[in-house]
C-alpha cells in the first residue's frame, strides 16, 4: 500500500536562481543541499508546513536525466511555460498575492474567483507555473 509522496521534481534552468526563488521569495526551507561532484548538486526544498515533502530542484542538463538533444528541448519547453507543476496552498490568498508580488514574483493571473475556487497563477524563475489557492476559512 502506498502511504505518501515524499519527493517530487521540478525541472529548473539554474539551481542558484531557483534557490533564490523558492527559498528567498517563496519562503521554502532547504531540506538537502548536497554536492555530488563537479557540477552535480542535489537540492531539495520543502514548503514551510510540509517538511516531509521534498521538492527536488532538478537542473536540466545533458547527463543522467536527459540524453542528447533532450536537454535543450526540455529547456525550451520549461522556458516557454509549458509545464504547470502543481497547486500550492496558503492561508490567505489575497495577502500572499500581495506579499509575493512585493517580492517580485510574476503572476500570470491575480486572485480570481473561478467556478472551482479562488486561485492565482504564478511562474517560477525558470518558467514553470503553479496554481495558488487558499485553505477554506
Amino acid at each position: 500500500m502506498i502511504t505518501k509522496l515524499n519527493h517530487v521534481s521540478i525541472f529548473v534552468l539554474n539551481q542558484d536562481s531557483a534557490f533564490e526563488f523558492y527559498v528567498k521569495k517563496l519562503g521554502f526551507k532547504v531540506h538537502t543541499d548536497a554536492s555530488m561532484g563537479p557540477g552535480m548538486r542535489w537540492l531539495t526544498v520543502c514548503p514551510p508546513e510540509q517538511p516531509d515533502l521534498e521538492i527536488t530542484l532538478m537542473l536540466i542538463e545533458e547527463g543522467m536525466m536527459f540524453k542528447g538533444a533532450a536537454a535543450s528541448q526540455m529547456r525550451e519547453l520549461v522556458k516557454n511555460g509549458t509545464f504547470g507543476f502543481g497547486v500550492f496552498e496558503c492561508n490567505d490568498l489575497n495577502a500572499t498575492y500581495e506579499e509575493l508580488k512585493a517580492k517580485g514574483v510574476v503572476f500570470k493571473k491575480p486572485p480570481t474567483k473561478e467556478f472551482y475556487g479562488y486561485e492565482a497563477l504564478f511562474a517560477d524563475d525558470s518558467g514553470n507555473w503553479f496554481s495558488l489557492g487558499q485553505k477554506d476559512k
Partner: protein, 140 residues
C-alpha cells in the same frame, strides 16, 4: 487597481497588513513596538490585531517570535554562538530565547546546532545516502 475590480475586494486592507508583516520580516532584530506598526498601517490597535490574526493565524507578537526563532535557526546553522544568535535576532535574554526555542522546536539551540552539524557532515561524507535510489542508480 484594474486587477481588483470585482474579484479582489478590500485590497487596501491586505496591502496594509502585508506591509506590516513585511516590516516585521525586515526589522525582527530591532526592538519593534507593535503598536507603532498598527499606527503605520493606519488601523486602530484592536482592528489591526484582529485583521493580522485572521490573515496569518497569529498575532503580530506571535508572528514576530516565530520570525526571530526561524532566523535564529539560520544563524545557528551558520555556526554562530548561542549568545550571539540570541542578540542578533532581537531577544534580550538568552534564557528566554532558549526557552522559546525549545518550546517551538523541542530541543535547545545548542542541541539543534549539534544535530545540524552532524547532518551536514554526513551529507558531505555520504551524499548518496540522502538521494532516493532511482536518482542514485544512474550516477553509481
Amino acid at each position: 487597481m484594474k486587477e481588483t475590480t470585482g474579484i479582489y475586494p478590500k485590497f487596501y486592507l491586505y496591502n496594509r497588513i502585508v506591509k506590516a508583516k513585511l516590516y516585521i520580516d525586515d526589522n525582527y532584530c530591532n526592538n519593534i513596538d507593535l503598536s507603532n506598526i498598527s499606527d503605520e498601517a493606519c488601523f486602530s490597535r484592536f482592528h489591526f490585531l484582529r485583521l493580522f490574526k485572521s490573515v496569518y493565524g497569529k498575532t503580530p507578537h506571535q508572528y514576530l517570535i516565530q520570525v526571530r526563532i526561524n532566523k535564529a535557526m539560520e544563524f545557528l546553522e551558520q555556526d554562530f554562538k548561542i549568545n550571539d544568535t540570541c542578540f542578533k535576532v532581537g531577544f534580550d535574554s538568552v534564557s528566554s530565547f532558549s526557552g522559546l526555542f525549545r518550546r517551538m522546536h523541542g530541543c535547545s539551540p545548542s542541541e539543534y546546532q549539534r544535530l545540524y552539524k552532524i547532518r551536514q557532515a554526513n551529507i558531505k561524507a555520504r551524499p548518496l545516502n540522502y538521494i532516493p535510489n532511482c536518482f542514485v542508480e544512474p550516477i553509481k
